[in-house]
Symmetry: C2
Subunit: 338 residues, 2 copies
């Protein structure tokens, strides 16, 4: 995916030509710029430390996929009042960032997006509080909306925390199945995508069947997104990922390739996954075992299944360039290498 | 303060007789019962672990002072729609509980309210996520209200996090002054009191001058509340406090008595406060030094000054039994021994 290009804030939204129809970013350049401005405003605090920590991540190269899904769903259903959707897209990105800060504490992560993690740089206490700060700012943006939007957003967040807890339950736990995994991915990753998409359609005034369909779109593309993330943790390149591969094995997180390898009884993977603080040699052996067999192809095929489901939902949306954008986005997510 | 007595949920609110006018709890028994029911509903999660952790603290003997202030301020200004104020009082208690869970992680606390802390019992990860879960639930309750209430509540939370950060800056830092301390107490403790009181008056339909006055009431009583907390950390009884005394010295937190002792150059206090992990002998020596001099009297006198300010605000409220309740509450806070 290409980086977000800043547009003059006062610029009117350009309707992209058909030539650029393959680039979903170009459809919402101006709105994403407004999201960026909102984010920068949101992280301003009386305490410079909080601004610094939040800025470390907010300004650290996030792909803004969740705001983009939200904006595109809104526009695909004919939404007009851009400011509304920009605010909720901001809230969703703030929630995502808050969970990243807290995840780094939980995983004791050294790096995030190619830089030292906030947890390493600023310590547990400040990072924890900065995560809370971002949650609060998110709800300041989301709280302006009607009860339905507030409830959906809060539900998505509750699901996130529940997904985190469920994942913890299956940490280094060989009993984990693909079904368990999908349940975790639904809660932990898909929840913000499905909520963003659904809120987008709802605020655009779509009928309830369409809102339900955007929900399904977000759900399936979110699951696919997590699966690709997991695959990249095995086969990705460190320079593109911004972090080493094999993190799921080191942390004992049940990723899709790991679960498939456990099912195939790959000895090195079973051992690395179940060992607290596995050696680097063990992690490398496990990664090689996964890469040498059919596991990655199998995982890719499963993720494509979810992507296909997302595309099926899109076909039910009214035809528009924004619908095309949502479609291309699914393709980009499936094909991404970072 | 006496424990909350459960009332039948369907019971109509009783107007207390003048005989019970000295007990602010009796004025809002039914509403506090509704808050309790809300709290129990709020902590229900698909993940039992989250419910367990939240319940560990929610059902663990909180005094519900913040909801009480909110309810009394509402009733003192003639508020009628009780369900509204019960929901925001619930939100405020949930926010308070979320910060307690996160504080226990930050302080690596062993105990809280006389029991093992959630952090010790359930570990860092689950406790962190449970704190997030409660923040989210709080905003589900608060998000139903108009933009003003949402903004005030979010501001209070932002202040809380900023107070935590500022306190961290002065951790074991001898440069801290009483003014710094008051700034921390304003943000960390008074913010939820002042917001609860202000929202109460606002939702009751009070005019802006009255809303401002309830804000001042909450601010000053909140600062007094924190000061008494600090004093009890020196002179309190472990059985009543539910935790050992001297925690501020152990954690390097700049409490009011510590700051006054630093100013008076009490050697043992200077040493204990500035030492990471001071020995128990050093902590005991420092506590004895504080207790033997005029420090506690001085701290009590400062806290009474803030309580007096809170009482001045109350005098401007329209006369009612609820106003009496708010007044008594200040007295109870100043006189409390736990």
């Amino acid at each position: 995916m290409k980086p977000i290009v800043a547009a003059a804030p006062e610029a009117r939204r350009r309707i992209p030509s058909l030539d650029s129809a393959s680039d979903p970013f170009s459809f919402v350049t101006d709105e994403l710029q407004l999201v960026e401005e909102n984010l920068l405003r949101a992280i301003r605090s009386r305490e410079q430390t909080l601004t610094d920590i939040a800025g470390h991540l907010i300004c650290g190269g996030g792909k803004r996929v969740r705001p983009m899904v939200t904006l595109l769903a809104f526009l695909a259903f004919g939404g007009k009042r851009t400011q509304d959707i920009v605010d909720i897209a901001t809230a969703i990105e703030l929630i995502h960032t808050a969970t990243l800060l807290h995840d780094d504490i939980i995983d004791r992560a050294d790096t995030r997006r190619g830089k030292e993690s906030a947890y390493r740089k600023f310590g547990l206490k400040n990072t924890l509080v900065a995560g809370d700060f971002l949650f609060i700012k998110a709800f300041e943006f989301a709280g302006k909306f009607d009860e339905t939007v507030v409830e959906w957003t809060a539900d998505a967040c509750a699901l996130l925390t529940e997904g985190e807890t469920l994942q913890g339950y299956f940490n280094r736990n060989r009993a984990v199945t693909v079904d368990d995994y999908v349940e975790i991915a639904k809660r932990k990753t898909a929840s913000l995508f499905e909520t963003g998409a659904k809120v987008g359609a709802y605020l655009a005034g779509a009928n309830s069947a369409s809102v339900e369909e955007t929900h399904r779109y977000g759900l399936n593309m979110g699951i696919a997104f997590q699966m690709v993330d997991d695959i990249l943790d095995v086969v990705g390149q460190i320079e593109l990922l911004g972090k080493p591969t094999g993190m799921d094995l080191r942390d004992g997180n049940p990723s899709l390739p790991i679960i498939l390898a456990l099912k195939a009884e790959q000895t090195a993977v079973c051992e690395a996954f179940q060992t607290a603080q596995p050696t680097e040699a063990l992690v490398t052996a496990a990664l090689n075992a996964i890469k040498s067999g059919p596991i990655i192809q199998e995982a890719k095929s499963i993720s494509r299944g979810y992507a296909e489901e997302a595309l099926k939902s899109i076909r039910k949306f009214p035809p528009s360039l924004y619908r095309n954008g949502l479609k291309t986005l699914v393709q980009l997510i499936i094909d991404r290498d970072f």
